[in-house]
Symmetry: C2
Subunit: 334 residues, 2 copies
């Protein structure tokens, strides 16, 4: 098992290195509320228990990533905004950065894996961003981004290892808490999050200080689950391990995320391809939402009995950007 | 072309025969608001125009039919509630009546076509209703319902020819108007509705007195379009005409609906199977919602250029109850 520590970040990626906070999440929530309507919090009955599903697939870009990107880009200085931003993403953060950049008139360059879903690549380009491709198995996306920043300048908007991004993603929890309260329910007391690098999980850990947080990863890409169990940051062993959860394919978490998750005693859970496919089908049938594989991981963990629901369980349906052929294959397979 | 007038209703179906009103819609809107969160009003960019899509597929039963059923059943007298209700429906109204009846502790019997989607039959039974099947081509569902009522008593909750039901469905328009206002937009100035018997269209015509209303029907089931053009109620000619829009397969509208629609100068528009399938795919890709064929008809008409959008166009995505195999077939066909 590879047990490397994370590479030290190049100076260009270090600015600024502050810890994300609950106050930061609350500030971000005000910015997001001024920009976007709340996504629905939909009840789903499962084995006699009501799960509260946050339908982030209904965001304008089809995932929660619009939150962190907006929070980051709206805090750039005028000089930073002029120099543009560089994002690294398997496709959802890409669209978040591209959407925010377009709205703010900022140039965006996004480093994306060459095997990202066609829909995600097309949508990112449609939003006006320049896309730079890399090979997910043989190249480091962070290294590609660092090279671009060294050559052309600009600000990195990392997909998860960034305090603004973490705080932005945490706004999911603030909204969900308000939506539960509107139904007369205290909570959430448990939060189950789809997890790649740990941006959303860390944000939710800050946003919901009284809840138990569970981060759900796909089989083969369980670095965070192993890291939290081991007490140190571990990496994905086999970067060619096949998964349909492209949005959750991150080689390792970053210290800024790990610090938050470890301090809160967050644990990781791993789901299989079939568990994810089943959850996608349940969401289709019961909620009439399209979720991508990576967006169904959290629900998959609950439905598979790997996470026991609490009294008021928040489940993130984090994204819906799946190619139609893939989705048809998954639905038809039943 | 068959040009029969509607059959006179049996006495059992006549109570009460009052005209639906805007005041009734507003009263229903208060009841619905106390029961259910608003469904999202999602912007969809199409050829540079923003359409406002009311995501009724996100209702607990997967369609707007919960509104009319709730409005009707909550106005039953205690004696009527004890005697139970009988509904006639291709599947969505069935679930609306069953859901409301279960919640209110009322016995529900639903007359459904034997070829209704498996998902709709199963969901109606899951909600505790008794299902009585009929043959869509050779039997009249109204006659089957009338026989049940004559034999066992109870109150008919018709799928569209009922003032409470019309007023309940109209609450879609009240909600949408409030949601547009929250975004600083006057409107809607145009309303495009998926149309079977004309319950939703008539409700929207009452709810949005200043808007142009367009009722969209599927090819072969265009009785209302022809009726509105002719100024008299006409029937579907060929009850075996194939369509994927099972929710919109109604042989003819009822006088109570026709009166409202005619008074408002509503016009009908007809869409093809391929236009509907294209709209379902657009909703999948851009909004990440699952809509059934009948729930995509209104959008299909706009995307096909058959209805010109207004300044603030409300489009109903009226339901999402489609069998997964059918949905997979439609997505994979591209």
């Amino acid at each position: 098992m590879t047990q490397q520590s994370p590479q030290p970040l190049p100076d260009s990626l270090l600015d600024p290195a502050r810890a994300p906070t609950l106050a930061g999440v609350e500030r971000a929530a005000a910015k997001v509320a001024a920009l976007l309507p709340r996504t629905p919090l939909l009840p789903l009955e499962a084995d006699g228990v009501t799960l509260w599903c946050k339908a982030e697939c209904l965001q304008p870009i089809g995932s929660f990533k619009i939150r962190g990107a907006w929070n980051r880009l709206t805090d750039l200085s005028p000089e930073q905004a002029t120099a543009g931003v560089v994002g690294v993403s398997s496709g959802n953060h890409a669209q978040g950065v591209a959407w925010a950049a377009k709205r703010l008139g900022i140039k965006a360059t996004i480093v994306m894996p060459s095997n990202a879903p066609a829909m995600k690549l097309a949508a990112t380009r449609m939003l006006g961003a320049e896309v730079v491709l890399y090979d997910r198995v043989t190249e480091s996306r962070d290294a590609v981004a660092a090279k671009l920043l060294d050559e052309n300048g600009g600000t990195l908007v990392h997909a998860y290892g960034d305090p603004w991004v973490i705080e932005g993603q945490g706004t999911v929890g603030i909204e969900a808490g308000a939506q539960l309260a509107a139904r007369g329910i205290d909570g959430p007391d448990k939060v189950v999050a789809c997890c790649g690098g740990g941006g959303l999980s860390a944000g939710l850990a800050l946003a919901c200080p009284d809840a138990e947080i569970v981060a759900v990863e796909p089989e083969g890409w369980d670095d965070l689950t192993r890291s939290l169990a081991a007490g140190e940051i571990l990496s994905v062993e086999d970067l060619s391990y096949p998964t349909e959860c492209d949005a959750l394919q991150t080689p390792q978490t970053w210290p800024i995320n790990f610090a938050v998750l470890q301090a809160r005693g967050v644990r990781g859970v791993v789901v299989t391809r079939e568990e994810v496919r089943h959850a996608m089908r349940v969401v289709f049938e019961k909620l009439h939402l399209v979720v991508e594989p990576g967006g169904a991981a959290a629900l998959a963990a609950v439905l598979a009995g790997k996470v026991a629901p609490g009294a008021a369980t928040l489940v993130t349906l984090s994204g819906g950007n799946v190619d139609p052929q893939k989705y048809a294959e998954i639905l038809a397979g039943y």
